[in-house]
């Protein structure tokens, strides 16, 4: 996988993970281009498209689009399920995850992704193992967070 992008229906990037070295300008350009292309597609269209010499696999969950760029020989369907497993992980961790969780706890979204995917490849596909790793880390936290009640809506799963 070359990169993964999460963006909202309004086209705001919520998470970006790059597994190939690119300069900031290029990253922004790619982000803009793909967000535009994908948002223009209709709901029933297929989840794959050719883009430059890569294949783009994307799926929409509630208000968020998850989009991965993979190489020619990579497997589209398994990438679709990588996206789904990541959504499951977020959902399990946050409890009915919604876009706001990812906005306010963006660092957590990155940490979970790092436990699941590394260098663009699946590192640990067991949901239990990934969550165990993250929760162990949370146990090491020294302070409790404040209450953000009322923000959860628009659940992804």
């Amino acid at each position: 996988m070359q990169f993964m992008l999460l963006f909202s229906r309004q086209g705001k990037l919520r998470l970006q993970k790059w597994y190939v070295p690119l300069c900031d300008k290029e990253k922004k350009r790619i982000g803009r281009e793909l967000v535009q292309t994908i948002l223009a597609r209709k709901a029933k269209m297929c989840s794959f498209l050719e883009w430059r010499d890569l294949k783009v696999v994307y799926k929409r969950y509630a208000s968020l689009y998850f989009c991965c760029a993979i190489e020619e020989q990579d497997n589209e369907l398994i990438t679709l399920e990588i996206i789904h497993r990541y959504v499951e992980l977020l959902d399990k961790y946050f409890g009915s995850v919604c876009e706001l969780d990812i906005i306010f706890n963006f660092e957590k979204a990155y940490f979970i992704l790092d436990e699941f995917l590394l260098g663009g490849e699946a590192q640990e596909t067991s949901k239990k193992s990934v969550l165990k790793a993250i929760e162990q880390a949370d146990l090491l936290q020294e302070r409790q967070s404040d209450d953000w009640g009322g923000l959860a809506n628009d659940e992804l799963l």
């Binding site: 589209e76 369907l77 946050f94 409890g95 957590k108």
Partner: protein
């Protein structure tokens, strides 16, 4: 777990994020961000030392601001400080900031590496993982240099925790992708392969990715992974009893690992060992069988995971391309998917079938699905799926179904999305040519293309139809008749006018017997389109008219009248005006014999690869071609094409000199200058010396190419000469500077006007007029900045008579011009020689003598080349030894050379050693041309 209890409770961060979200405008957001940045900056600069928590919070805010798309130019140091915190979350934020924001050239890299080193050595698995994730995320060369040697050790050590092994494997994969030269495998190879046997499926999953990447680069070293991968796959796929627990995903056993194992096996040919091969076949059959079983769940995740494995298995079957039964089964399975209700599956089936179509075993099986694919072309609502259908039709096309497929593609073209029209046009043109049994069908098809999608018909396509018509006399009459009929349409595409003009100009006589297409009718028909066309097309039509004068003397009057009209003779466009003047004169003064010779039919074009195919490949990349052999060959070609792409710019400047707009067939597959054309020059040479219509043999590649190499060992002489102009050179060089005096001599009795001579760099202009018989001088100052290969090109332009002359001449500025000779004695020479002993520093070339092997001439050439000629160095007195230093602005490169003649064999061996590979190579190329 309520969402709200998560996070590290950085209240300030949450407030800030809320504020940003509440901003009503971009300006408000920027204002809020600037306020925050000022606040953080003052905190970081303040006297009071910040506690870890505050530092973490501010670093996290900066990260958030950066991810919003704003630039961050401070805070890196604070982030690096967090790495040495022993609080996990602080460390974690520090690493995240670095992974996202630090690029490899940061001067903090040493501090960062230090932090990573400590964590790697900590033996605390969570800390080790953070450090490994950071290396994998940044993946820079500096990190590879620092850690590439440690990570394999961590990966294979017996006491490493599983989760650390997983991170280490993928970390190594990333470093191997970015800096393969720094990752030493060798001694670890066997133990890494054995990770495929690991009990922990997570470790196996990560290791399989790593091994696949390594096996792609050095398959031989990882051959042993094949049997382990098959064993592992077989256990997952065929034994229903094993419970993989959490690695089972929606009732599919370890889909990610299965896909990865199947992918690894695609690095290798089918196993030779019979038992192993049998086991693999059993796996693949089981996977195919499972596709037929009823689903264990209605969830899309179940079918996706199951089918992901299935598609990967099919990829492996296609890759092996050795088991006809499996290939046909795969094809049937894909055939089912072609009609599946899931768009994704239809898309993938079309895509996968494209590769199946190129296997001889399954080509026929693929063809049976033609109706379904055609239907997909008509009914799919998603353009990307339709695109796949077009690709598959193209791939399954052969002589038996070409007519049907081409017809379907043509009819699709009328409604096709604009984005894919050009590609469809190319594909239709290629198929029509490739599978044409009778060429009348081919001509019809291309004319249909132009009629339906004229705007998308590129030059290559219409050039090609003309080439084919000219080369096959059995279709010429039909082509003339067909274009004549097509031109009857009140509005026809300009491309049709071009093809029509060209073909009627050549072969209009073949239909002139019919009174409905008599010469005058043909001419009037063409001329009725003239005024609607662009300049290049009009130019082409004028050429068609002069050809008519030769074919049909009876329309001479009518055509001369057109040529004579003010709108032609005084046309604002030089090209049109010139053609009108010349053609009119030609038709008036030349006898019918001369006319017949000058304007005779075009000679056949040399057979060569279709330029359309080349164009499609440029557009699409290789693959999906009907013929397997071809696919492989094309891929080779494609690769070599890509390989030379970087040289293209320089050759472009050299070849940018074609004298006329390319309304004629001066395309990539242009014919050689025809006999007719060169005669044209002769006809004119008495009356209108330079206004001739064909290039005056000015193509720089031939005219100056030879002279160019003559300047390698000398500095003065005639660089270029044609009927009009002579260019002489005097040049002098000192160290990295050079001065060239260029002399332009007008050989004619007419003044040259608007004379310019420009280099692709800044030059002092030459005098804009050169009087008849006179000479002007231009001085060029040259500085060598670094070593180079391509010579600068002097672009020359002037007006002679009414004609604009424009061409490029390569200036003989070569690397060896910047030599300073170095005298040295034998002992010093050999000491230097040994120092430059690395393989890339030496270039050796053995070549045949092109000139008489004269010792004195050779000596003069070596001195002229710029080095000192060293006597008494080589024990063999017949050998030549030289030494010198190349001066460039940035560096000096010492060069040693040795030339060994073998008079018996009439061969030389030339050896060059310099401290720079590119210099050795270039000097060897230059000097070896001289003997």
């Amino acid at each position: 777990m309520p969402a709200v209890s998560k996070g590290d409770g950085m209240r300030g961060l949450a407030v800030f994020i809320s504020d940003i979200r509440n901003c009503k405008s971009k300006e408000a957001e920027i204002k809020r961000i600037n306020k925050e940045l000022a606040n953080i900056r003052s905190k970081f600069k303040g006297d009071k030392a910040l506690d870890g928590y505050s530092k973490k919070k501010y670093v996290c805010k900066l990260l958030f601001i950066f991810l919003l798309g704003h630039d961050i130019d401070f805070g890196h140091m604070e982030a690096v400080n967090l790495l040495s915190s022993n609080k996990y979350t602080e460390k974690q934020i520090g690493y995240l900031f670095i992974s996202v924001l630090v690029n490899s050239n940061s001067d903090l890299i040493r501090l960062i590496n230090n932090g990573i080193k400590n964590d790697l050595a900590s033996r605390n698995p969570t800390f080790m993982n953070l450090a490994l994730h950071c290396i994998a995320n940044v993946g820079s060369r500096e990190m590879a240099e620092a850690f590439a040697a440690d990570i394999p050790r961590i990966l294979v050590a017996g006491d490493t925790m599983d989760s650390v092994k997983q991170s280490a494997a993928l970390c190594l994969l990333r470093l191997n992708r970015t800096s393969p030269d720094l990752v030493p495998m060798g001694e670890w190879t066997a133990r890494v392969v054995h990770l495929l046997n690991d009990q922990h499926l997570g470790v196996v999953t990560a290791a399989t990715s790593l091994i696949t990447t390594l096996a792609q680069k050095s398959p031989d070293d990882f051959k042993t992974s094949v049997s382990l991968a098959i064993a592992r796959l077989s256990r997952i796929v065929t034994s229903a009893s094993i419970d993989l627990q959490d690695y089972t995903y929606y009732f599919v056993a370890a889909p990610w690992l299965s896909v990865k194992l199947l992918r690894l096996l695609q690095c290798y040919p089918p196993p030779e060992d019979g038992a192993l091969r049998g086991r693999l076949t059993e796996c693949l059959e089981t996977i195919l069988n499972k596709a037929q079983e009823p689903p264990k769940s209605k969830k899309v995740q179940h079918s996706n995971a199951k089918n992901a494995v299935l598609f990967e298995a099919i990829s492996l079957i296609i890759h092996h391309d050795s088991e006809p039964t499996l290939l046909v089964r795969a094809c049937n399975q894909l055939g089912q998917f072609l009609q599946h209700r899931e768009t994704n599956l239809r898309y993938l089936a079309l895509e996968s079938m494209c590769t199946l179509a190129s296997s001889e075993f399954s080509h026929e099986a693929v063809k049976t699905h033609i109706e379904t694919v055609i239907n997909a072309l008509k009914t799919e609502r998603d353009v990307s799926v339709r695109q796949r259908a077009v690709d598959l039709l193209y791939a399954m096309c052969d002589r038996s179904n070409a007519k049907q497929i081409v017809a379907e593609m043509l009819s699709y073209l009328e409604t096709a999305d604009y984005s894919i029209r050009e590609e469809i046009v190319l594909k239709v043109a290629i198929l029509a040519e490739k599978y044409a049994v009778d060429y009348t069908w081919y001509v019809d098809t291309i004319l249909n293309l132009i009629r339906m999608a004229g705007d998308y018909v590129s030059e290559e396509v219409w050039y090609r139809v003309i080439q084919i018509v000219i080369n096959r006399d059995d279709v010429q009459g039909y082509a003339a008749k067909t274009v004549f009929e097509a031109l009857q349409a009140p509005a026809c595409h300009e491309n049709l006018v071009k093809v029509g003009g060209y073909i009627l100009g050549e072969f209009g006589n073949l239909i002139a017997g019919d009174s409905r297409s008599s010469p005058l009718v043909q001419f009037k028909l063409l001329h009725s389109k003239f005024h609607l066309c662009s300049v290049p097309t009009r130019a082409l039509l004028l050429s068609a008219y002069i050809k008519f004068i030769n074919l049909f003397p009876e329309v001479k009057g009518a055509i001369q009248e057109v040529l004579r009209s003010d709108s032609q003779l005084r046309n604002a466009d030089v090209e049109l005006q010139q053609r009108a003047v010349e053609y009119l004169r030609l038709s008036c003064i030349a006898s019918t014999d001369i006319l017949a010779t000058v304007l005779e039919e075009m000679p056949p074009f040399p057979e060569r690869e279709s330029s359309i195919l080349a164009k499609l490949k440029r557009k699409k990349g290789p693959g999906n071609l009907p013929n397997i052999e071809e696919v492989r060959q094309e891929r080779e070609k494609e690769r070599s094409l890509n390989g030379t792409a970087e040289h293209k710019d320089s050759s472009d400047t050299a070849s940018k000199t074609s004298l006329y707009p390319s309304a004629d067939l001066l395309g990539p597959a242009a014919p050689p200058p025809s006999t007719g054309a060169s005669l044209l020059v002769d006809v004119f040479s008495d009356s209108l010396p330079a206004a001739a219509h064909t290039p005056l043999d000015m193509s720089p590649a031939t005219a100056s190419g030879d002279n160019f190499s003559r300047f390698i060992c000398k500095n003065n002489g005639v660089l270029y000469e044609n009927q009009l102009l002579q260019i002489g050179l005097k040049s002098e060089y000192r160290q990295n500077l050079g001065r060239i005096y260029v002399f332009f001599g007008n050989k004619t009795s007419t003044q040259f006007l608007n004379f310019t001579s420009t280099l692709n760099v800044h030059t002092k202009p030459a005098d804009p007029t050169i009087d008849a018989g006179a000479q002007v001088q231009q001085i060029l100052n040259i500085e060598c900045l670094s070593d180079f290969t391509d010579a600068p090109v002097l672009d020359i332009q002037f007006r002679y008579g009414g004609t604009l002359q424009n061409f490029g001449v390569k200036l003989p500025v070569m690397l060896n011009k910047f030599f300073q000779p170095t005298e040295m004695v034998s002992q010093d020479f050999f000491q230097r020689w040994k120092q430059l002993g690395a393989p890339q520093q030496e270039v050796q070339k053995i070549f045949k003598a092109k000139h008489a092997m004269d010792t004195e001439v050779t000596k003069a050439k070596i001195i002229g080349f710029g080095t000192a000629l060293l006597d008494g160095v080589d024990p063999n007195p017949t050998n030549f030894v030289g030494a010198g230093v190349i001066h460039t602005k940035s560096t000096q490169v010492g060069c040693l050379l040795r030339l060994e003649p073998n008079t018996q064999a009439q061969m030389y061996r030339l050896t060059l050693r310099t401290s720079r590979e590119t210099v050795s190579q270039r000097l060897s190329d230059l000097l070896s041309e001289q003997f």
